[in-house]
């Protein structure tokens, strides 16, 4: 009974499928974390009564539990997601107990002999019953073709979604199939060209979307959402773990509102035109192009704990700028990677490093490290460590800063890891206590010169 029903469904699909291609409208809402909502509007031909409808060209990575189909005057009996794939081995396996045609080809003459055979087993090799004899298929290595007369109903070239429905009356319906799928994601990519002579940057922002979902979406209306809605069944939740300590790029969170569209607290980036997102394609669309934003270039060094380094370590080269509407980029920035470029002596832009940024509100101050400075180094040394009492230590630190550049620089020298009750007892220049765990000095180092900072810390715990 069920088999017959499925057969009817197969035929029904064959009948209605041509209409879909013409009247199909796909809209994609793509979130940051490899997640997309697909809304697939198609015209379907519905008959009276119970029937099965197959949906071709859905994402190969569809999450079938999120599928919903809506159309007028139908009721859904069940939804199936078949992932039994059509392969030669499966075809033979499903033919066990059934008749196939075998064609023996005479290697000397090329003459063909046709016989009917019954497939008995496919365990390791194919065993056939021909008339009253049993044979192993191609045991002698001679060519034998096997012809099957049909494909079993639930074997498909691609995983396929099918829905059994009951129609109340025959006719064409507008149906919307919506589902979530991984394999589609987007991020922002920024290009900043730093002009050393006037200290300004030109910034371009690109939306980069990638499709590895296994399916091409033709002519899709695309909306990008700057946000990552949490997925309940996500399994691994990286937020539950403490992320490794990173340099803080957002110095001052902004408080300005832009004019971009929002959905709840997420910013929306609609693509202006319908576009085709092919499988395994990387697509970029521009969303930001700002010139002549003031940027500050400086140096930073962090000594992670009150310890000695065997060799001098490079300071980080840091660029900071604002995203404010006044003297800034004037936009909120979706998360992505910002790449810095600078012109060389011949005028060709060269890459000088990159930094990841998180979703950044408008009006923020960003400070991005592009890499290590070759010529500006800091050598941190513990000159003396004394135990004052069981839980009380005194550490004398010396920081030697060297600058091989022909111009003076200012290095923000930061001592981290001041855990417990740590205090600065003496220092060669005044420090700023950034927080309980860090103190910072702003050190001027002359051109082709040196500077030394000393400090004595007392740590109680």
């Amino acid at each position: 009974m069920r088999v017959r029903l499925l057969c009817i469904g197969w035929v029904a699909w064959l009948l209605v499928s041509p209409a879909w291609a013409a009247d199909r409208a796909v809209s994609l809402t793509i979130y940051n974390d490899n997640l997309a909502l697909v809304q697939d509007r198609r015209d379907i031909e519905v008959k009276d009564g119970r029937q099965r409808i197959e949906f071709q060209d859905v994402s190969a990575q569809i999450r079938p539990e999120t599928v919903s189909l809506s159309a007028a005057d139908i009721s859904i009996v069940e939804q199936n997601f078949d992932f039994d794939l059509l392969t030669p081995a499966k075809l033979m396996e499903k033919a066990v107990g059934q008749e196939v045609t075998i064609v023996r080809v005479n290697p000397a003459t090329g003459a063909e002999t046709r016989e009917q055979a019954q497939v008995l087993a496919t365990n390791g090799g194919v065993v056939l019953k021909i008339g009253q004899r049993i044979e192993v298929l191609r045991d002698d290595g001679l060519p034998v073709r096997v012809i099957f007369n049909k494909v079993p109903d639930n074997l498909r070239a691609r995983p396929t979604l099918s829905v059994s429905i009951v129609g109340t009356h025959a006719g064409t319906r507008h149906a919307t199939l919506s589902y979530l799928t991984p394999g589609l994601g987007w991020k922002a990519d920024y290009v900043a060209l730093y002009n050393e002579s006037d200290g300004k940057i030109d910034v371009q922002g690109w939306v980069t979307l990638t499709n590895s979902s296994g399916t091409t979406y033709d002519n899709a209306q695309t909306l990008l959402v700057a946000g990552s809605p949490s997925q309940v069944d996500g399994g691994f939740q990286p937020n539950n773990f403490r992320p490794p300590v990173r340099r803080q790029t957002l110095q001052q969170p902004g408080t300005e509102s832009g004019s971009r569209e929002r959905l709840g607290d997420y910013y929306l980036y609609p693509l202006a035109e319908r576009t085709t997102i092919a499988n395994l394609q990387t697509k970029q669309v521009s969303f930001l192009d700002v010139r002549g934003v003031p940027a500050e270039h400086g140096y930073e060094f962090r000594n992670r704990w009150l310890g000695t380094a065997e060799t001098p370590q490079s300071a980080q080269s840091v660029y900071s700028f604002s995203t404010s509407a006044h003297a800034g980029l004037g936009d909120q920035l979706p998360a992505g990677i910002l790449r810095f470029y600078m012109k060389d002596k011949r005028g060709d832009p060269q890459f000088i490093g990159e930094s990841r940024i998180d979703h950044t509100p408008m009006g923020s101050t960003l400070s991005l490290a592009t890499g290590d400075a070759f010529d500006v180094k800091v050598h941190a040394v513990v000159d003396k460590r004394t135990r004052l009492s069981i839980f009380d230590w005194q550490t004398e630190m010396r920081y030697e800063l060297t600058n091989a550049l022909p111009r003076a620089v200012v290095v923000k020298l930061r001592q981290d890891g001041l855990w417990g009750d740590s205090s600065v007892k003496a220092e060669s220049q005044k420090s700023t206590r950034l927080n309980a765990e860090a103190a910072e000095w702003s050190v001027s180092v002359p051109a082709n010169g040196k500077a030394t900072v000393t400090a004595t810390f007392e740590t109680r715990y």
Partner: protein, 540 residues
């Protein structure tokens, strides 16, 4: 200031009735000018490159001539490096606004052909081995799932190449598959125009390092320092007549997600089980298959990285020119050069002679004096102009040579980090069996007068005492010449030296003894350390 006008502009184009699909395909000319800037593997502090796995990258800038038609066109840049990071691509010199940039990662390959032909009409070709006549049958490919191909003809449903007959397909022309990695850009041009376009992108599968050779003079007091810039390209694409430069300095690279790519593969045509009555046991076949797949899997993962390099080119004579690039050092190869595919190339970086050096023997002695053994040997100098240096030394490998009967013999190979002007440089010369260090603790004394007790819970206290160790370190010299020796001590936290029979110095905040060891003699150093010892104690 922000870019709203762009989005508005795009909406206007859409409203103006230009249909997305109407873009005209234009193929950009091959590059007329190329600039390749090679960056080192971002996480390598020192040492040379690994030719089998180049972990650096390059910025490639290509200038190409494009004939833009009026209206919407899709300009295709064929033959970009296989290791391209498409999200870093930048295109300048276009006659209008970029609508979108695409990189299609599905390359033309046998498996991609089958995949894109699923459900489409194809021709099945079946050739008679005896007569050589080929039968052409119209058919449809039903599936290519999991490497097996099922097709349908008038006769029924069959599986490809399971019959033992020579079978294959002939395909209708297909659009959308390119032979080489291709970047395309959709652009709206107000009128037909032919102009130069600059495309730049970052690409993986490059690396470079400096390779130094240090040759000691006969007296061991000077060395000649020569260096090559060794750069390599493991991409399948060549860069002919390019301006090539390398950048020194550690650059911040985020480990961004790789964009998807499918490099394609053969038509596997997996069949149903083909066991015969004379088969080996199943387990043996499984192992054999496992080995086979492992082998093919290894070869197919990363075209740009894993291939061995075919050619080594050496460009002698002229040196690279150094310039400052922000906080980095840029070295320019003086003439245009061809960076071929899977090639490593060397260009002279420097030749400095007569650099004065001092030879130092030494050892880092750990917390207990037993951690002794062979002494290390270093050549020490300072990177200044008066020392015939005074130029930035980019990180790399260094091979030290010593003269022997008019020849130079290899002494030691080691790694060098980035060294700025005016920094101290140490070249490692390895260990010396002639200079041995032994150490013993002669005496341990607990100072009970300074014992502190800290009650924790009733009956248990933390006891803290002062512990004095008297240690003796002996340095023996089997060489026929006196040596300079540095004994660097790593004491436990809070410990210090209270007495010593040799003058005590400090280096990097650590105690150090510097002394001479005469030829064929042994020198003993005695010192007393004072530190703290803690322990949990039961109190009555």
């Amino acid at each position: 200031m922000p870019a709203y006008p762009l989005l508005v502009g795009l909406s206007l184009i859409a409203a103006g009735g230009i249909v997305h699909g109407a873009a005209i395909d234009v193929l950009a000319e091959p590059p007329s000018d190329l600039i390749v800037t090679v960056y080192r593997a971002p996480y390598r502090e020192s040492g040379s490159i690994d030719l089998n796995y180049l972990q650096g990258f390059a910025l490639v800038t290509e200038t190409r001539l494009v004939r833009f038609p009026a209206g919407l066109s899709r300009v295709r840049f064929e033959g970009v490096a296989d290791g391209i990071e498409p999200s870093s691509a930048l295109i300048t010199g276009l006659p209008g606004k970029v609508i979108e940039k695409n990189r299609d990662a599905l390359l033309l390959s046998p498996s991609a052909l089958i995949e894109s032909a699923v459900g489409k009409r194809v021709e099945l070709l079946r050739t008679d081995r005896k007569t050589g006549t080929t039968q052409r049958l119209p058919g449809t490919i039903l599936s290519d799932a999991e490497g097996g191909v099922v097709f349908k003809t008038e006769e029924g449903i069959e599986a490809l190449r399971c019959s033992g007959l020579p079978e294959t397909f002939s395909f209708e022309p297909l659009a959308g598959l390119s032979a080489r990695p291709t970047l395309s850009v959709e652009v709206q041009s107000p009128n037909a125009v032919t102009q130069q376009v600059t495309l730049s992108y970052l690409a993986r599968g490059f690396d470079w390092a400096a390779d130094y050779t240090a040759t000691l003079s006969q007296d061991g007091e000077h060395l000649d320092l020569g260096a090559w810039v060794t750069l390599a390209n493991s991409n399948g694409v060549a860069f002919p007549r390019a301006h090539v430069q390398v950048v020194a300095g550690k650059i911040n690279r985020e480990n961004g997600e790789l964009e998807p790519i499918d490099i394609g593969g053969p038509i596997l045509a997996q069949c149903w089980p083909r066991g015969s009555t004379s088969d080996q046991p199943m387990i043996i076949r499984l192992e054999a298959m496992d080995r086979m797949f492992k082998k093919s899997g290894d070869a197919g993962i990363m075209p740009a990285a894993a291939m061995s390099l075919a050619e080594v080119a050496v460009t002698g004579g002229r040196k690279v020119q150094q310039e400052q690039l922000g906080d980095l050092k840029l070295y320019r190869v003086p003439e245009r050069t061809t960076l071929a595919s899977r090639q490593s190339k060397q260009v002279r970086l420097m030749d400095q002679s007569g650099v004065p050096v001092t030879t130092i023997y030494g050892l880092d002695l750990g917390a207990d004096a037993h951690s002794a053994g062979q002494a290390h040997r270093w050549l020490r100098t300072k990177n200044t102009t008066s020392n015939h240096l005074g130029l930035p030394l980019p990180s790399g490998g260094i091979a030290a040579f010593a003269p022997y009967k008019g020849e130079r013999l290899l002494q030691h190979e080691s790694a060098l980090r980035d060294i700025a002007v005016d920094e101290e440089v140490e070249f490692d010369l390895g260990q010396s069996a002639d200079v041995q260090v032994t150490g013993v603790v002669e005496e341990t004394r607990v100072d009970s007068e300074h014992t502190k007790l800290l009650p924790l819970v009733p009956g248990v206290a933390l006891r803290s005492v002062k512990v004095d160790d008297v240690e003796r370190v002996e340095v023996s010299n089997a060489r026929a010449a006196a040596i300079e020796f540095e004994l660097r001590l790593r004491l436990p936290e809070g410990a210090r030296i209270v007495r010593a029979d040799h003058p005590l110095g400090a280096k990097n905040g650590r105690p150090i003894f510097r002394f001479k060891v005469p030829a064929n003699q042994t020198v003993a150093v005695r010192f007393q350390t004072q530190g703290a010892g803690d322990g949990i104690l039961r109190t009555p």
